[in-house]
């Protein structure tokens, strides 16, 4: 079965629109006739799931704003008003709070899929970089969103994270005061975080648009890591991947619904149900689970500035992946050693996450340091070395041949 055909129509109305704004053919090219590799596996579902979560967060977020009050004396009470009095307020708030976690689950899997299948390699470097920009924007958005309910963890999380900027030499103190708009996290801070938390998702939308533009220019990568060589290698996006994405979305929604309806507070912290109190710090300051690995790296360095640099570097280093990995073969499927290194890296990330939730004392400090060193060693030493000496397995000639066998020639 041949795949994509260019957009055609007999409708006069659509032709009239197309001559002035080719929006229908653009949508068609992106979601209907877009030639997608015929061998994408379920790991390729997570891109569309991330898009779904972005929309879901924006919709629930805009609605929560209709009832939320960004003021230190009213913020906590307005969240309780949402939970108790607003029609379906509990559902909207739990969907938004757990939605942040779901968004990160999906995006982490999406990033790991890229690392496993070498999706960052030429010609997809820009696609990869735009993805990392989205990830950074998500982290900023999630952090500021967590401050808005104005619970104890909101307040102390904001205090600790903004204080990180104090590590900058010379100007650190002034920067922190500037971020706060005062001499501590207070109403001015809450208001600006609210404003930016509302703004950034739309910036993410814009970068997502660029991400998709780059994707449709280079076309999707695939589990074999070999480029599309002709129509026999692709299938039209619709109905093949629309149906697959719909199925994936249904399964994912059940996972999402489990947290929202049956365990809505498990991913949060009980301390955030106590209103912010600038005079009392909770016993353990723990960030949300999706920040834990980076938090562990921050704490692994016994120097304020060094810790901040290490934490930032842990993300920035992802930008260099297209150059650190110079193996000619893209997919880990044909890279027996890289494949093992990938899984060790995932395990290291999990260890870092675990350490991030533990108190910074005793054995946890040592484990955290070893795991942090390994994190950077993976990128700086292991990946380039493997690219150097690894003997990849033979790569198939074409997608069609690998998927359909000799029948492809018929």
């Amino acid at each position: 079965m041949s795949s994509s055909t260019p957009f055609q129509t007999n409708s006069k109305v659509i032709k009239w629109i197309e001559a002035r704004l080719p929006i229908i053919s653009t949508i068609d090219g992106a979601l209907v006739s877009y030639p997608a590799p015929r061998n994408l596996n379920y790991w390729w579902n997570f891109g569309s799931l991330a898009g779904f979560m972005l929309v879901a967060q924006i919709v629930t977020g805009i609605i929560l704003v209709m009832h939320y009050t960004p003021h230190v004396t009213l913020a906590f009470a307005s969240v309780e008003h949402i939970m108790r009095d607003v029609n379906y307020g509990w559902l909207l708030r739990y969907a938004h709070a757990n939605g942040a976690s779901m968004f990160f689950v999906v995006v982490y899997i999406h990033i790991l899929r890229g690392l496993y299948y070498g999706s960052y390699k030429a010609p997809r470097e820009l696609l990869w970089w735009l993805g990392i920009v989205i990830f950074l924007l998500m982290m900023a958005t999630a952090f500021m969103g967590y401050v808005l309910p104005w619970g104890q963890m909101s307040f102390w999380g904001a205090t600790v994270i903004t204080n990180l900027f104090g590590a900058l030499p010379m100007i650190g103190g002034d920067i922190v005061t500037w971020l706060w708009g005062g001499f501590s996290v207070d109403n001015a801070t809450l208001n600006r975080f609210f404003s930016l938390h509302y703004l950034l998702p739309f910036v993410i939308c814009a970068v997502v648009f660029l991400h998709l533009w780059a994707l449709h220019t280079t076309k999707s990568s695939n589990p074999l890591g070999i480029e599309i060589k002709g129509d026999q290698d692709t299938v039209p996006f619709h109905p093949y991947y629309t149906a697959k994405d719909a199925f994936g979305l249904s399964v994912f929604l059940m996972f999402f619904a489990y947290w929202v309806f049956f365990n809505p507070n498990a991913l949060g912290h009980p301390d955030n149900y106590t209103e912010a109190n600038p005079m009392v710090t909770p016993a353990h300051i723990v960030p949300e689970w999706y920040f834990l690995p980076f938090y562990a790296i921050l704490r692994a360095v016994p120097d304020k500035l060094g810790g901040v640099i290490a934490m930032g570097g842990a993300i920035v280093i992802l930008f260099f992946m297209p150059y650190l990995d110079f193996s000619k073969v893209r997919s880990a499927k044909f890279r027996p050693i890289y494949k093992q290194a990938f899984w060790l890296f995932v395990i290291d990330g999990l260890i870092l996450g675990y350490v991030g939730a533990m108190p910074a004392e005793g054995i946890w400090i040592i484990i955290g340091r070893i795991a942090s060193v390994y994190y950077f060693a993976h990128f700086i030493i292991i990946v380039p070395l493997i690219s150097w000496f690894e003997k990849p397995l033979p790569v198939p000639e074409s997608i069609a041949k690998a998927v359909l066998g000799d029948a492809a020639k018929a």
């Binding site: 609605i63 108790r84 009095d85 307020g89 909207l92």
Partner: protein, 182 residues
């Protein structure tokens, strides 16, 4: 498969198509139901919240309102006129011919029995929601300065663009000198 085993050989192709069509329609239908069910909370959240609904009654002490005077109290975020009418106003209101009215209503239907000196109504012009001014206009009642609606001493629309009489809220007398609105 299921269809082909029961259908004849010739019908094989069309049987497949029917089943496929049913599947598509059913799946899209379920998806539409899911979307619809998701949209409802997003709409219903804009309806009044439980605390707003709970605050919907106001008590008014009438003992301080002399004949010929009125007060305005707030109920559900709107002004409510409570007027102690004079004999003249009551007489005018009772004698006004219903045939001349846009929204005919007897004066008795707009006050509580035996308490016809007390007129309680929502002070919001039925045209576009302004607050009419008291004791003005051509009918000894209220006059809306926004678009020139005249209401009489029973709050009925007599002249101008407003379509309906001023609304009477739900209220009851708790005693001779106290009412509860809502």
């Amino acid at each position: 498969m299921a269809t082909s085993s029961s259908a004849g050989h010739d019908a094989h192709g069309s049987g497949q198509a029917t089943r496929r069509d049913f599947l598509y329609v059913a799946t899209i239908g379920l998806g539409a139901v899911a979307a619809g069910a998701t949209v409802w909370p997003l709409i219903d959240q804009m309806n009044p919240a439980a605390d707003v609904l709970a605050l919907s009654s106001t008590e008014v002490d009438l003992s301080k309102i002399a004949e010929g005077q009125g007060i305005t109290v707030m109920w559900r975020g709107k002004p409510v006129f409570v007027r102690h009418r004079t004999e003249k106003e009551i007489k005018e209101a009772e004698e006004a011919p219903l045939s001349e009215m846009r929204d005919p209503a007897t004066d008795a239907s707009r006050v509580k029995e035996g308490k016809k000196q007390w007129l309680v109504m929502v002070g919001v012009c039925t045209h576009l929601g302004c607050i009419p001014l008291g004791q003005q206009g051509d009918y000894d009642g209220w006059f809306c300065p926004c678009h020139g609606s005249h209401y009489d001493s029973s709050g009925r629309i007599r002249k101008g663009p407003a379509p309906l009489n001023l609304a009477i809220p739900e209220y009851q007398f708790l005693s001779d000198t106290k009412i509860k609105i809502g």
